[in-house]
């Protein structure tokens, strides 16, 4: 199987000397996410990423280790968002870890789910919920400023 078949629908990210480029394999008519030139934080993503392709129908994974013979590295959009969020948001201790999932929401729009994984709690206190909501508000604000994906916060327990 060719790499192009294996990764059908997945945007490719190639690292060049001064930046990256997404190459689309198919076109599902979903507009690409645009990243503001002046994101409200230190990291200037637009200098590093140029979107030229369309979005995949499901989760995006920019792992492109076998694409068309180019000097290749990979970048994961979810990982990028993860790094930005972790850099700017202080999470309550109840959040043990974060998971980022990319895809489309129930209306078909580009979305990112940020999952707060916390301890199971059958009787959460008001302060616990308030601290989770405060973190959720901050995450939404950061994601809105750097991505056109709509951020949805989920709380999972373990």
């Amino acid at each position: 199987m060719k790499a192009a078949d294996e990764n059908f629908g997945q945007p490719r990210f190639h690292i060049h000397q001064k930046g990256g480029r997404l190459i689309h394999v198919n076109d599902n008519q979903v507009p690409p996410p645009t990243i503001p030139q002046e994101a409200n934080n230190v990291l200037d993503i637009s200098a590093k990423v140029e979107y030229t392709g369309s979005l995949p129908l499901s989760m995006i994974d920019y792992d492109v280790s076998q694409t068309q013979g180019s000097p290749v590295a990979s970048i994961d959009e979810a990982e990028l968002l993860h790094d930005i969020v972790c850099e700017h948001v202080r999470f309550p201790e109840d959040v043990r870890r974060l998971e980022f999932r990319l895809g489309e929401d129930s209306t078909g729009a580009p979305a990112v789910w940020i999952v707060f994984v916390a301890h199971d709690d059958l009787k959460p206190s008001k302060s616990k919920i308030a601290s989770l909501q405060r973190a959720a508000d901050e995450v939404r604000s950061i994601v809105h400023s750097v991505s056109d994906r709509w951020p949805y916060i989920e709380i999972a327990t373990e």
């Binding site: 199971d120 059958l122 616990k128 909501q133 809105h144 709509w150």
Partner: protein, 178 residues
């Protein structure tokens, strides 16, 4: 009490049921009901703002004209326009006429309501249709709390100029953008 208040109370009740082992049915209905509470709050106030008091049935008729998807789109567009405005930019989605009437940045309380509506509608969709996921009490209570806080936020901005434009957009944005 109005329907939206009853729904919110019911959502709180459902989220807290079965203290030791909550049933998925209770948690899912709690999330779904929390969304509908906010939905009915917005369309009740929307109809009140947009319709005359007479004839009495007209307000109810106007309520029935609000649509879930269009309301969600309006909420998204307002949030995106607000983010763009904060960064000195302009986003698509809001008609020029409506944009000219809005004062940016939008009130944080209004943004909170918009965000909550989008979040809760998606959560409702998952709660009602996605059986691959298991809801937990913490998530359900957090969604219900988000609805309750959206109610409180709404009370602080329901008479503002921006809110009036927003409410009209909930019903008319599609026509304005033609």
């Amino acid at each position: 009490l109005a329907l939206h208040h009853d729904l919110l109370e019911q959502a709180e009740h459902l989220a807290a049921r079965e203290p030791k082992k909550p049933k998925q049915a209770s948690l899912r209905r709690a999330v779904s009901t929390a969304y509908y509470a906010l939905f009915h709050l917005l369309i009740a106030d929307g109809a009140r703002l947009l319709s005359p008091t007479q004839p009495t049935g007209l307000s109810l008729l106007i309520r029935s004209a609000f649509g879930h998807v269009e309301m969600r789109n309006v909420c998204k567009h307002f949030v995106q326009a607000n983010v763009a405005a904060v960064h000195g930019k302009r986003s698509d989605g809001i008609s020029d006429g409506a944009r000219a009437l809005l004062a940016f940045p939008l009130e944080p309380a209004l943004v909170k309501v918009l965000e909550a509506f989008v979040e809760l509608q998606e959560a409702r969709h998952q709660a009602d249709y996605d059986l691959t996921k298991t809801l937990n009490r913490l998530a359900a209570e957090t969604y219900v709390t988000a609805a309750r806080e959206a109610f409180a936020s709404w009370q602080t901005i329901r008479r503002t100029s921006n809110t009036a434009v927003f409410v009209a957009a909930l019903l008319l944005q599609r026509q304005w953008r033609r």
